[in-house]
């Protein structure tokens, strides 16, 4: 089984720890720990996730480009200022990195749909069973997508109409 490199961009330590724990149990998955280091010793995931604030999309993309994870989990927060520039830039600059969104109950289907349209390859709930995180990594790594059948229905509607 080929090793899949995974990075997580989520500022919530609890959620991140849970996801890390889930992924560490997966055979053939390499979690990129150094994602939390940067030149100023500030947590790098802070940089990764606050692109709309103090860090530019270019810097975030450069960081991801350097780490070159196969799968990048990004927390999907609808209330944060910003746009889809990061997803678009990642698609252009790091085409080998596949983005999976981490959502919560408040995530609106239409917004997830827009994120998928802008390059995300899947989404799943933070609170999902750990097994699903491992499955999502495998499935997305193989070029498939990880979304609910309901979301697939919405994608088809969008494509056809």
């Amino acid at each position: 089984m080929q090793t899949v490199t995974v990075a997580i961009a989520d500022t919530d330590p609890g959620r991140r720890a849970k996801l890390e724990q889930s992924l560490q149990g997966g055979q053939g998955i390499k979690l990129l720990k150094n994602i939390i280091l940067d030149e100023s010793d500030a947590p790098a995931e802070h940089q990764l996730e606050s692109h709309a604030g103090m860090t530019s999309v270019e810097e975030v993309v450069a960081r991801i480009s350097q780490l070159n994870p196969r799968i990048l989990f990004i927390n999907f927060d609808q209330s944060t200022e910003g746009d889809f520039a990061l997803l678009g830039a990642l698609q252009r600059e790091c085409p080998e990195t596949l983005v999976v969104l981490l959502t919560d109950k408040s995530a609106q289907d239409e917004q997830i749909l827009q994120a998928l349209a802008n390059g995300a390859r899947g989404c799943l709930n933070h609170e999902a069973d750990p097994l699903y995180f491992l499955k999502a990594v495998r499935v997305v790594d193989q070029g498939e997508i990880w979304v609910t059948r309901k979301m697939l229905g919405k994608i088809l509607d969008k494509v056809l109409h």
Binding site: G82, E144, K150
Partner: protein, 221 residues
Amino acid sequence: MILLASPSQDDLFRWEQGVRGLAPVFCSTNLDSVRSELVRIKPQVLLLDHDLPKLDGPNGISGLMKLNPETKVIILSHAISDEIEWGLFRTGIRGCCRGDIEPGQLKGVVEAVQQGELWIRRTLSWHLLNELVMITQEKNKIKQAVSDLLANLTRREYEIATLVGDGESNKQIARRLDITERTVKAHLTEVFRKLDVADRLKLALIVKGSMPSRDTTRIGH
């Protein structure tokens, strides 16, 4: 109501076993009957045998779907290639599965489709997402091109173009901006020239198309 369509009585019997508890079930064994039943009973779901004589592949399925667009079509087939199956989904079918599916499983498929889900193999789902991404990129390119064109307008011209986009007449625009109708016309002539459009309807479409979506989705921490 659920309509089952297959020339095979055995298949119809098995499918009916699976879905009978979900809704009243009707059966058709030929294309003419399917057409008339789609119009007559307007089923919520149509389980359609891909090998129904004279169906004529995706074209025929599209034709059937036009008879009652509300009907969710699920194709049952023998093993077909990814390309053929994806072609079926592009007609708007909501599911595809093997014709020899177990009745219990078929029930699950129909229930899922009734709830708005898409019954598609995961290995095909990337086609779907790629198409969505491509369409979005095309739209973004067009938006960018339009935005570049609109950037050539003066502030006043842009203001007037936007009001045309809102459906206002020259008279209304003149009143709103406290200028003469003649001035509005002069500005519009220049707008038409810069954007290379012939009439206000096309201008309105361009302006509307360039407006950012009201949905502002954010990705961040």
